[in-house]
């Protein structure tokens, strides 16, 4: 996983609350067998509407999604995180996240920045006024900065540490590789092998 310290990019204002994971990625895409390549699946139903914000050419290349409260509710599918990342998002900003989605995001390396709803509103207004407005998310300082505004965001200390270090669950476990090897040397001789 790539370490996350400071990220600057343009934003997409998603003026919707209660965006569930079925909206983020509809169930029909779950039949795929890959871990990547879900960019076309992100908000697939909504993207059939030409007026949907992601279809606005001015939003091309944006990396920060700014969503209404209760983002990521519903089914626990990890594909929701993969689709956001594959599309290019590195950060989702919202005033409330669903727990499982937030957990999955932390594991996958997608930063979920929890801010007050008035910060969301201010960010929506600012990026709608100027789609090229850079938004800087500083994980070390726990701040979101845009224009003249700097607001702080909340994130779990443990998740923050993992993101800063660029460690996924496997990376963390592999830091104990020595202990795993020591355990293996103690396993009984009769323990079966598949090959």
């Amino acid at each position: 996983m790539e370490p996350f310290t400071v990220h600057t990019g343009t934003a997409v204002p998603l003026r919707a609350s209660n965006v569930d994971t079925d909206q983020i990625i509809p169930a029909k895409y779950l039949k795929r067998i890959s871990r990547h390549g879900y960019e076309d699946a992100l908000f697939a139903a909504w993207r059939t509407d030409p007026a949907f914000v992601l279809n606005d050419p001015a939003r091309a290349g944006a990396t920060v999604l700014v969503a209404g409260p209760d983002f990521g509710t519903g089914s626990s599918r990890e594909h929701a995180v993969w689709a956001l990342q594959d599309y290019g998002f590195r950060v989702v900003i919202s005033s409330r996240f669903a727990d499982i989605f937030r957990g999955n995001s932390g594991k996958g390396g997608l930063l979920t920045a929890l801010v007050e709803q008035d910060v969301v509103e201010a960010l929506w207004a600012a990026t709608e006024a100027d789609p090229t407005l850079p938004v800087t998310v500083d994980l070390t300082a726990r701040t979101v900065a845009f224009g003249a505004t700097t607001a702080s965001f909340e994130i779990d200390d443990y998740v923050r540490w993992r993101l800063l270090e660029g460690l996924d669950d496997i990376g963390i476990t592999l830091q104990s590789a020595g202990l795993i090897a020591a355990f293996e040397s103690r396993r009984p001789a009769f323990a079966p092998r598949t090959a």
Binding site: I33, D169, T173, F183, R187, P192, R193, A195
Partner: protein
């Protein structure tokens, strides 16, 4: 204070433990199938990580495989893609695989035990909830999600918080004609589909000790249907006799060492469970489901319940929905419910003993007109063993279809499905809406009840045939 069986196995596998953190648990055996593994392998590939212990990993193809014409390419493109991805991944990462057509292919939870890979005291995981099956050997075995599959592939460990423990003590003896399936369906109806949540269930008591390994696997298999993480049964002479001589069983001095260790895998007398349930085996009767979850069951001698029979408003609503979906009228005797299809198979009841029990009932009898019966062995080995005993002829002469091995109609990922509104008596483990095909209606039953039902065309026990 003493330890429970589950705690002993857990403690023997802790690689790293720190206050406030999950334990890092070593995994002795990782079983892999085509549905839940592709993204895990893809994740390894992206991160440039190898499979740490291919020699503790085994892949098999089961969920998607057809049960006829297995020499032809799989027709459904999604199924084919999953199976082909597994083959590529196994080859690339050096994981042993038993593919369609090989003598060791079969349902992942049938293959592990029959190879002798499933042994007491092990930790066993698979991206599949019915991994609990392997607990019948006194192993701590549980299902995991796809990111955990990747974690185990890369590290052979899992960070886990300890489970709670529940004892399910079954005293006395099962009456004749009452099987392990009836017992576990009764347990689930008793504690509810959420009753085991967060627990490892340990089945104990006289009735459990008397069961064969096949029957113990049936019971542990369905622990997940009570919401539990795992089910376990302490190993004993029955367990050792089942394992001895199998291809992956220890031999010579290793066998002696193994058995000596396995004998220590019992719950200490002074150990304390977090919860306990006691059941009197002598009161049990053949049990079948009427609804759309495995907890919605009644004795076969009973009737379809009415929503008002339940006190909890949530249960009433669930019953109303289930009755509508199942097309059943409250008060109907279960024995009058007519079926279109009988499915004998799955990781719950697709083993040789299950096929024998059903064949004993079908021998010299005919499947009722208008009823189709599918017999799907749990593995190729089970299939071959059944054929060596002539069971295939019994089934075919009775008018049943004798199929190749796989999950088949347990979940209908292959072409074996129910049509909408079609009703089945099934020896599998889940009667969820649409599980065996969209709109299909499933009654969970034992192999004996399945066979008798096939003959009468209505839900029946073998005793009903003698009476007729």
């Amino acid at each position: 204070m003493g330890k429970t069986l589950a705690e002993k196995v857990w403690d023997a596998h802790v690689v790293r433990s720190a206050p406030g953190e999950p334990d890092l648990l070593y995994i002795d055996l990782h079983l892999v199938h085509e549905v839940t593994s592709p993204q895990a392998f893809d994740g390894l590939r992206t991160a440039g990580r190898p499979v740490r212990r291919p020699d503790l990993t085994l892949a098999t193809e089961d969920h998607n495989v057809p049960t006829i014409d297995i020499d032809k390419p799989i027709a459904d493109p999604v199924s084919r893609a999953q199976v082909e991805a597994l083959r590529r991944n196994a080859a690339e990462f050096g994981v042993p695989i038993h593919s369609l057509g090989s003598a060791e292919q079969g349902i992942v939870h049938v293959v592990g035990p029959q190879l002798g890979l499933t042994q007491p005291g092990m930790t066993i995981v698979c991206g599949d909830s019915h991994t609990s099956t392997h607990g019948a050997f006194g192993a701590l075995a549980f299902g995991i999600g796809t990111s955990e599959v990747e974690h185990v592939l890369a590290t052979q460990t899992l960070p886990l918080k300890p489970f709670r423990t529940m004892a399910i003590t079954v005293d006395g003896q099962l009456p004749p004609g009452v099987t392990a399936k009836d017992l576990i369906l009764t347990v689930i109806a008793r504690i509810g589909t959420g009753g085991g949540q967060g627990y490892v269930l340990e089945y104990r008591g006289e009735a459990i000790r008397a069961l064969s390994m096949e029957a113990r696997m049936t019971i542990c298999n369905m622990s997940i249907e009570a919401g539990a993480r795992a089910g376990m049964i302490a190993p004993d002479e029955t367990t050792f006799a089942y394992i001895e001589g199998r291809p992956k069983a220890p031999s010579g001095q290793d066998w002696a060492d193994a058995v000596a260790y396995w004998r220590t895998l019992v719950t200490d007398d002074d150990a304390v469970f977090d919860a306990e349930v006691v059941i009197d085996a002598s009161e049990l009767t053949p049990f079948v489901t009427w609804g759309t979850n495995p907890g919605q069951g009644v004795p076969l001698a009973g009737r379809v319940p009415a929503p008002e029979d339940f006190t909890d408003p949530v249960d009433q609503e669930a019953a109303r929905k289930a009755l509508a979906y199942m097309g059943l009228t409250p008060g109907t005797p279960m024995r009058e419910v007519a079926v279109d299809t009988v499915f004998l198979g799955s990781c719950t009841n697709g083993r040789i003993e299950d096929l024998r029990a059903a064949a004993d009932i079908l021998r010299g009898r005919r499947v009722a007109d208008g009823v189709r019966m599918l017999v799907v062995p749990g593995s190729v080995r089970v299939r071959l063993a059944a054929m060596a005993e002539g069971l295939d002829r019994v089934f075919v002469e009775a008018g049943a279809q004798w199929r190749e091995a796989g999950c088949s109609m347990c979940l209908g990922m292959n072409p074996d499905t129910l049509a909408p509104q079609e009703r089945s008596a099934s020896t599998s483990n889940r009667n969820f809406e649409g599980r065996q095909g969209p709109g299909g209606r499933t009654h969970l039953v034992s192999p004996q009840v399945a066979a008798a039902t096939a003959v009468r065309g209505r839900l029946s026990s073998p005793a009903d045939l003698d009476a007729a």
